[in-house]
Symmetry: C2
DNA sequence: TTCAAAACTAAGCATTTGCTTAGTAATAAT
DNA sequence: ATTATTACTAAGCAAATGCTTAGTTTTGAA
């Protein structure tokens, strides 16, 4: 992997410090998280940060990848393995609330937070990572909807669109509403499907 | 209104420059909007800004009030005057998409954007303004739901919760999804009510 | 044991942030 | 016309931002 000879060993594991950075970005967003804050949270010097990840933007990009990996393990894989059709999607919604739990209120989804914060002037690399992730989730939702053989493809497409937007809604709403209101939302959302 | 004698006249109308500030905050969010950007957009000097509104936070607070006023005129009053029950709420959803239109994608709702950006460490004054606004919308939604005499109060409460979260969802989703996906969302969202 | 490569520490860089202040111009009352 | 009061311009402030660099320590290979 490393072609050049290693003179002095790194005193940290990049994957480990990135997970800490990710949690900070998740709680605070991109702009509000300063390099000094990252330094403290990651437990490494700015020099090390820049030599490992290039710049703040690089740290963020790796944090996003870390988030995707975590979400895949704790959310998407469960959805994939579910065998109860739409009910599995509903469980995904409930799992997401647990996944994004913080003190009292929730942190939302890091990727949704990012789109919401940076909007259209988010850079293209980050944006494509986000779109890839969203597309992936959507495809799994479609697969679960397809287990109901009654549904035609147009209905499935519409319902998948609907569920994706609902998921975004849940992400933001979980940052300001109480548990009960979120559950009312999930239950109502799945009533018509 | 003004008790002290006016020595030199202000060269700007506070309401006018605040509307410009509001649009800037709406597009960019609180942190990303710098005082220098506000200066340019509002067309007044920093000194004038600070003497009129105290600080950046004050400009933002007035911008929020301005947004609420605009939303009331263009959205809430229409909802209030509607006589077709749930259909009126649905029209509110469609009107919101128009209301928050920008270049290509949408700007979302300024208040939702703010909660999403500042989260729990948004200051209490701003937070209470936001909550007051959300409560107001919710009460109007409930009124429209109540026109259907078949529905008991528990159902109405649950459906109102559901619609409020859906509205948040629409706000965020409109910043990243295309028109068709948003319409699929609205149509599906109202199917079960 | 020497030495070059890599990783550390810590100080410092230019720029931008929100905000202030010194000095000048305009206005209404005397 | 004088004067007090307000509003303007523009320069400047400390602090924070993302990032760099000079100097030291650790390491594996010769």
């Amino acid at each position: 992997m490393q072609l050049v000879i290693m003179a002095r060993k790194k005193e940290y594991i990049e994957e480990e410090v990135i997970e800490k950075a990710m949690n900070l970005f998740w709680r605070n967003g991109y702009e509000t998280t300063s390099v000094r804050m990252l330094e403290k949270e990651m437990g490494i010097n700015q020099f090390s940060m820049y030599s490992s990840f290039g710049n703040k933007h690089g740290v963020f990009l790796e944090s996003i990848k870390c988030y995707k990996k975590k979400a895949k393990q704790e959310l998407i894989d469960k959805l994939k393995e579910s065998t109860n059709g739409i009910e599995g999607i509903k469980e995904y919604f409930y799992n997401f609330i647990e996944f994004s739990k913080d003190t009292k209120l929730n942190k939302g989804c890091l990727l949704t937070n990012t789109v919401n914060e940076l909007g259209e002037h988010a850079d293209t690399i980050i944006m494509s990572e986000i779109i890839k992730f969203a597309t992936d989730i959507k495809s799994h939702i479609i697969k679960k909807l397809e287990t109901d053989k009654q549904k035609d493809s147009v209905t499935i497409a519409k319902q998948a669109n609907y569920l994706m937007v609902s998921l975004q809604g849940l992400s933001v709403a979980s940052k300001m509403f109480e548990r009960q209101q979120l559950e009312d939302f999930i239950e109502s959302a799945f009533k018509s499907l």
